[in-house]
Symmetry: C2
Subunit: 209 residues, 2 copies
């Protein structure tokens, strides 16, 4: 069971076709369904549920807890990977700030289709897992591979003209100033590094208590 998210350079359909054409393709079934609905429709117990860089796409923190809770009895292990939100090196600071800037605006939209909707740090994901009755059995951090361009893309999105279109959704001028300050800090930090790199990745394995 894999909760999947789309991205570049391939879209979801292309990625699926590529995997289906691989030697293990016949063993893979894709279900483009809401995880909670899908789990309710079967009683299969899986060896592993993998949530790979998808936590930030969740609609809100409560849905993260509900999903972890539903998975807790249906997968023997739950593996999570998400960005650390920790600037380990000056070149990753623009990515951290861009993620925070993006989230500060997206959280004001009743509906969001953005790639950052619920920005949870490893600390908060662990808290949600505890609330869902899970225990952590392993965790660690990894450097993002050099071919993972999420940092560059995220910074580009926050500094793009389109991003500003939604600023008026933040009606209070004091609150809007904070979003603008986050955008500005992202821009300044990008200008102060020779290259933007993607922030570190946190991984964790959970099992039911």
């Amino acid at each position: 069971l894999k909760t999947c998210t789309s991205g570049a350079p391939w879209n979801l359909q292309q990625a699926h076709a590529h995997l289906k054409a691989s030697p293990v393709g016949h063993r893979i079934t894709f279900h483009q369904r809401d995880t909670l609905d899908f789990l309710a429709s079967t009683d299969t117990v899986y060896d592993v549920a993998v949530l790979a860089h998808c936590i930030w796409y969740f609609a809100n923190p409560t849905t993260v807890i509900d999903t972890l809770k539903a998975l807790s009895t249906r997968a023997k292990r739950i593996c999570v990977a998400e960005y650390t939100l920790a600037p380990s090196d000056i070149s990753t600071v623009p990515h951290v700030l861009a993620a925070l800037a993006h989230a500060s605006l997206e959280c004001r939209k009743p509906q969001s289709e953005a790639n950052i909707r619920t920005l949870l740090s490893p600390k908060r994901i662990k808290e949600k897992a505890t609330s869902a009755g899970l225990s952590i059995v392993d965790e660690g951090t990894l450097k993002a591979p050099a071919t993972m361009f999420d940092g560059k893309w995220e910074v580009g999105e926050v500094l793009g003209k389109e991003f500003l279109h939604d600023l008026d959704k933040v009606e209070n001028e004091r609150e809007r100033a904070v979003v603008e300050a986050l955008i500005d800090a992202t821009r300044f930090s990008k200008e102060s590094v020779t290259k933007v790199t993607t922030m570190d990745i946190w991984y964790a394995v959970f099992t039911k208590d």
Copy 2:
């Protein structure tokens, strides 16, 4: 004319007494008044108005514009110093993140007594000055002196237990998650540096168009 703010290691009263006891003390008059009220009560024209690290204390962005506008006809030059909000070095990242975290919570309070109420970057201060009919004649950035501990204090405040008391003022769980993410990023960045230093300082001189 100097718009002054309190701080450590001395409070405002102690700082005033120290300056009054200096060789130039007899030439200094302190007016602990709201700037707009004070300016309305006299018609004196001053050589210089200095806003030294006080912009972030303003109640809201509109008051910054109103104050700059009022000063524009009453001071020949207006000098501003404020933090850059730009992480020039990994050791300053915790201060930048703490300022953003602090502002993200303070902007939700109808009344704030905190030292960060309106977080404006140099870019935004210049925009406000333009709105107030001012032109920039000089600007630059400086490294903060090693004896300026604002970075350390700000990070300490954001990571202190008392800071969390006001988190429930952010009722929406998605919006609260962003404030928590800013606090977490501040903590992670503090843990990743050997010493927190204060971010760079921006200064600018404005005159009326």
